[in-house]
Each structure stands twice: as C-alpha cells, then as structure tokens.
C-alpha cells in the first residue's frame, strides 16, 4: 500500500480525537459580556428590600467608580461571595446590588444572615438589566467608572484572591 492511502484514515483519526478532546474539555465555562467598555444601559429598578433605595443608571454617574453586583438570595455562590463584598465595602467601595428574581423577605433574610455590603439594591424581577448588561448568570460584578461606563466584568463569585485585583481596577479607572 502506498503511504498516501493512509491520509484519509489519519485525517479521520485526527478529527475523531479532536471531537473526543473537545467533548471532554471544550465548552466555554463563561460567556463574557460584550458590554464592557460601553456605557451602562439606561435602567431604573424599584427597591428590592425595605429600608434600602432602588437602583438606576443615574446612581453611577459622577463620583468614584462603583461596583454593580448582580446577585440573588437564592444563589448559593452569592453566600460564598458575601465576605469579599464586605471587605470591599470596608475599603470604601460603593457597591450597588441588583437582585435577580427575588422576594423582599428573602433579600432581607439574606442580608441579616450574611451582612449588607450594598448602598442600594434594585429589584430585577424579569432579568431585564441582567440581559441588557450581558450577564449570563449570578453572581457577576461589573466595575462602572464615574462617567457611567462599564469597565470590567467579573464572572462568578469574587474569591478572596480576586479582591486586590478588583481594588486595583477600581483605582485604575478613576
């Protein structure tokens, strides 16, 4: 047999191997938002809990860069994230929360258990802002600069070793 006859077999094995590899390791774990470096969309959401105001785009205009934290009381990784948000708050960062599909009593319960790092929480009952800002899940955190522009997206819960990086980015976009 001439070696050239083995080319189709080799090609087939290559693609079969590639398919097996991609099935095992492929798939994007995260869907990055295309809204980074674009202005924060216009929105205005009612308060998600008694005692804290709701949130709107206007809250981000002017002043220091702020964090927009997309979360929910029913979201388990959000519990893991709570201490890190508390630390960011202690560092003087203003965090505005967006509660996705949540009930006021559940939000209040979550805050009393795990602490309240937020100055405002808007209620997004139909994931309107979540989709508008390109967040594929909860939790996600966006850095918004003083001009109301989205500068950075953190997908998933903020871990302890992510805090310095986020503080640095907040400093950089001032």
């Amino acid at each position: 047999m001439r070696p050239v006859f083995f080319i189709p077999l080799a090609l087939f094995l290559f693609f079969a191997g590639l398919a097996a590899y991609m099935l095992a390791n492929g798939r994007f774990e995260t869907v990055p938002s295309g809204m980074v470096d674009k202005p924060l969309p216009e929105f205005s959401l009612p308060p998600a809990v008694d005692g804290l105001p709701g949130a709107s785009q206007a809250n981000f205009i002017g002043g220091e860069p702020k964090l927009l934290n997309i979360w929910a009381s029913w979201c388990l990784p959000c519990i893991a994230e709570a201490p890190q948000l508390e630390r960011l708050k202690e560092e003087g960062v203003e965090i505005i929360g967006i509660a996705i599909r949540d009930r006021p009593e559940d939000v209040a319960d979550f805050l009393s258990r795990y602490g309240n790092p937020y100055t405002r929480i808007g209620a997004d009952d139909i994931s309107e802002l979540q989709i508008e800002i390109g967040a594929a899940g909860v939790p996600e955190t966006f850095v918004i600069d003083g001009e109301g522009k989205i500068r950075y997206q953190h997908i998933g819960d903020i871990r302890a070793d992510d805090v310095p990086e986020i503080l640095e980015i907040l400093e950089d976009v001032k």
Partner: protein, 140 residues
Amino acid sequence: MIRAFLIFLFAAIAMPSAAQDTLPPAPYAYKQLDDPDLEAKASDLMDTLRCLKCQSQSINDSDAPMAGDMRHQVRSRILAGEEPDAIRAWLIERYGNYVSYQPEVSASTWPLFAIPALLVLIAALILLRRLGKRRQEERA
C-alpha cells in the same frame, strides 16, 4: 443504612431546586403573542437562540427562568415592531455569537463552508480523471 441513603438521595434531589428562584415567570415567558404571525416570527427566532444557563438547548426548549426572561424580551420586542434580525444582533452584542444558533459566515467560520465545497470539487476531479483513464484504456 438504607434510611441514611434515602435521606441523602432526597437531599440530592432537593438541592438543585433550592438554587432556583420562586418568582412567577415573566409575562411573555410562557404566554404566546395574540397575533399568530408575530408569534411565529418570535418562535422561529427563539428556536435559534441559545439558553445561556443550559447546554445545547434553545430558549424555546428550556424551562430555565432566565430562558423564560429571554423569551419575554424576544416576544415584547417583536410586539413592539422590532425585526428578528435586530433582536438577534442586540443579543449578540451582549453575549457574542455564543447566543446564536444561526450559522454565519465570518472570518473564523468560512472554512466550514469552503472546505466541503473544496472536497466535492476534488472528488469530482479525481473521478473525472479515473473515468477518463478507463475510457482511454477501453478505446485502446
């Protein structure tokens, strides 16, 4: 032992449902548009948009709350007179091509369209050459 196993089993079943919200679905998540033509337009679009929370399901096929909220967006935008292509573009701007199931020719996907055509062409050339050779031999 069996009891412990059963408790574990029930806990395992209960866990995922605990990580879901309990709010009612968005108005247009499960409610069709009154106008059948508009609903058909919306439905065709929703068949080719990917649910971001689930693997390999369109938002039309998924019961994930976020898929319902995306269906609400699609239906209300269709109702407001937006074209399906504009809504797809709006979602792609946010989530990238990942959100769309509609194949598109782009800088990274053109080989998918070009290679099959090329292979058919090569196969046709080889076939013609062989048939030509055989005919020559028959004549000789």
